[in-house]
Symmetry: C2
């Protein structure tokens, strides 16, 4: 579970960093409807193969996508579990309704 504070904070930052690039958002948009192999992505997007490979690795290292080798191809798909964790993370940002100041002062 990625969290704002504590020992998982670095993992949270890594997850968000994986989302912080337009090429990678494009990839996720392509994967939204199901798995795709790299050559399909290369066709659909305007990106050199090594560039795609680089970004797929960033997404995979962050845990956002999974790969499934099949013969000569490797199929990538969004990791549904991590998406649920992301939802929990964003939910933790919901502002407390009590606008209450703390008792600290400068």
């Amino acid at each position: 579970m990625p969290t704002l504070s504590g020992k998982n904070r670095a993992k949270t930052a890594e997850l968000c960093h994986a989302l912080a690039d337009e090429t990678r958002l494009d990839i996720l948009d392509q994967l939204k409807d199901g798995e795709r192999c790299v050559c399909e992505l290369t066709d659909a997007m305007q990106a050199a193969q090594s560039r795609l490979s680089f970004h797929l690795k960033v997404l995979k290292d962050a845990g956002l996508i999974q790969d499934r080798p099949e013969g000569r191809w490797i199929y990538y798909a969004i990791n549904a579990d991590v998406v649920e964790e992301l939802e929990a993370l964003v939910a933790s940002l919901r502002v407390m309704r009590k606008k209450g100041r703390s008792d600290s002062r400068c």
Copy 2:
């Protein structure tokens, strides 16, 4: 509304980039329970003032936080609207249940 594709994609990347740093996650964690001025954050966290100011600007430019000047202090708070937009964005990553391959091929 930040989206995966289309003209808001850059805004989405900016939002996620703002979340992709441990110092900024710390700041958001501090703001979770209500607004704080910079000096309170400086006390609570282990960060030089100029460093905090830099990261507050990143968060503010991305729309994640708002500021409210009051006398000599500036109070920062999480922007609830943007959090809701983030929730919608993450929801759009939910995997379609039909694992169906598309009709494309390599």
